[in-house]
């Protein structure tokens, strides 16, 4: 993958780097010697069948689980170091929102932890609430929200504080068609302001629209990766390429 930003201490050129990362869950190898480098400013789509290791990569990146072997660096640091997670947003596949909290309290605390304060915090929360269509839901408890609304709250918290690196795990899961359209706009806006995106999705058209790099995982390994244009053969759609890679082709693991 080509680097797209000049490195400095605060803005490392590589937003996320996995070097021979393996993750075992008991005897199951969820991730097997995966090496991957996500350049700052890139939009990378993670594709693969269920259990291929997409979510495991995101969890390793955020320091929610540790690699069994190999290493992971988030913005040049160990992801378990809280400083690595500054300016990072994350939307899990099914956001487990604290049921007893209200929408506004939840976003306020996330905003503060994202480094916002005072008028900036309130303005940004107001903007996100309006953007996500949640302005009239602020006092509702998170436990009472529908799946779609919970996903919108998840988006709002992930994008608070204009993160430089955003991890999205199945971002349109649970959203209705209008919500899916809105979500594309929110993600595109984050991309437009220069955020690095790492998106895990089963929806190939979504990846095709939003990402410029693709990593196809299969059985815990990288089966193919590279810029979208290079991955597709003549006249091939991403779906064709995905089926070709996952169903038939020998593993073509690409180094960072």
């Amino acid at each position: 993958m080509a680097l797209s930003a000049a490195p400095d201490a605060a803005h490392p050129a590589i937003a996320l780097e996995l070097a021979g990362a393996t993750r075992l869950y008991g005897a199951r190898r969820a991730l097997d010697r995966v090496s991957l480098a996500v350049p700052a400013g890139a939009a990378v789509g993670l594709l693969g069948p269920n259990g291929a290791g997409k979510t495991t990569i995101l969890r390793l990146a955020l320091g929610l689980v540790a690699p069994s072997s190999g290493s992971v660096l988030l913005r040049g640091r160990d992801p378990f170091n809280p400083r690595a997670r500054e300016k990072v947003g994350w939307l899990p596949e099914r956001p487990a929102l604290p049921a007893r909290m209200t929408v506004i309290d939840f976003l306020r605390l996330h905003g503060e932890l994202a480094g916002l304060a005072g008028a900036d915090l309130e303005n940004e929360i107001d903007a996100r609430l309006a953007e996500m269509g949640l302005a009239d839901r602020v006092t509702e408890r998170l436990g009472g929200l529908s799946k779609g609304l919970a996903q919108r709250v998840g988006f709002a918290q992930a994008l608070l504080g204009s993160p430089e690196l955003v991890f999205l795990d199945e971002p349109t899961s649970g959203l209705d068609p209008l919500g899916i359209r809105d979500a594309r706009v929110w993600i595109a806006a984050a991309r437009a302001r220069g955020a690095t995106l790492v998106v895990s999705s089963h929806v190939l058209t979504e990846i095709e629209r939003l990402c410029d790099h693709v990593v196809i995982l299969h059985e815990g390994r990288i089966a193919a990766s590279g810029p979208l244009g290079e991955l597709l053969r003549d006249g091939e759609s991403l779906e064709d390429a995905y089926v070709r890679v996952v169903r038939g082709a020998p593993a073509a693991e690409l180094a960072p």
Partner: protein
């Protein structure tokens, strides 16, 4: 943002969370019942009571009943602290909501300690009310020195800290009911052993081991409210008990932080 600021924000959230939980509401209800119970139990006639045919003046009743009442209340509240702590970290870890906070620039230790602190603040405030009212009643009805109640309250907070940290640590590895069962059983055993030791009735065996190496939860409380019963300790004795309690607090917190540091999160 400083680590301390993050801790304060998350501890405040943990406090609100505990207050909104069924456990928190239950503890508040128990506190009200305890206050009503203390009022009823300290309502003996001002000229004393008759016990086994003997007339006991109020001043004598107070020296027995005061420490006993304070100890029972303290242990019920310490158990309440364990109840809250066993839920405070294990629940967000189990339901996955902890991951959302820990994807922010929040350290594992900061998160775990903020959850511990939130629950402790709730119990400490409730205990301030219950033990404060109990002390006021004991002082006004039996003429006991209210300042001893302050010393007892500080000791209670130390006990609650140790027990909460242990309960939170166990809750990361055991099912909740098993955690609570284990902690409650342990609390009773320690209290009983400490009590036997103070009155000089502790025989050889497991009790000696607990008394020698276990947390001096009951001993510390007995010593704190001992002056009500005429029990006065040397500074060395006090320092020894305080030191043991401090070591238990430090070890329990260190184990909690270590245990949570690299735990897989959903």
């Amino acid at each position: 943002m400083s680590r301390f600021r993050v801790f304060v924000l998350l501890a405040a959230d943990a406090l609100r969370d505990a207050l909104r939980s069924r456990v928190g509401v239950g503890v508040l209800l128990v506190a009200v019942l305890l206050v009503l119970g203390v009022d009823r139990c300290t309502g003996a006639p001002s000229d004393g009571i008759t016990f086994n045919g003997r007339e006991l003046p109020a001043s004598v009743v107070g020296t027995i009943f005061g420490p006993l009442c304070f100890l029972v209340l303290s242990f019920v509240l310490v158990a309440a602290a364990a109840l809250i702590a066993s839920d405070a970290l294990a629940r967000p870890v189990d339901d996955g909501s902890a991951s959302l906070w820990l994807a922010r620039p929040v350290g594992r230790a900061t998160y775990a300690l903020s959850r511990l602190a939130g629950g402790l603040v709730l119990v400490a405030v409730i205990a301030l009310g219950v033990l404060g009212i109990a002390t006021a009643m004991l002082a006004s009805r039996y003429g006991l020195d209210w300042r001893v109640g302050i010393s007892g309250y500080v000791t209670f907070v130390a006990d609650a800290f140790v027990v909460s940290a242990v309960a939170m640590l166990l809750s990361l590895h055991l099912p909740r009911m098993l955690t609570l069962f284990g902690v409650f059983l342990w609390l009773q055993y320690v209290a009983f052993t400490n009590g036997l030791h103070v009155v000089g009735a502790l025989s050889e065996g497991g009790g000696r081991l607990v008394e020698g190496w276990g947390p001096p939860l009951g001993t510390a409380l007995l010593f704190a409210v001992g002056p009500w019963a005429g029990l006065h300790l040397s500074p060395e004795q006090r320092a020894l008990v305080a030191g043991r309690l401090a070591v238990w607090a430090a070890v329990a917190v260190a184990l909690l932080v270590l245990s949570f540091r690299r735990r897989d999160l959903r």
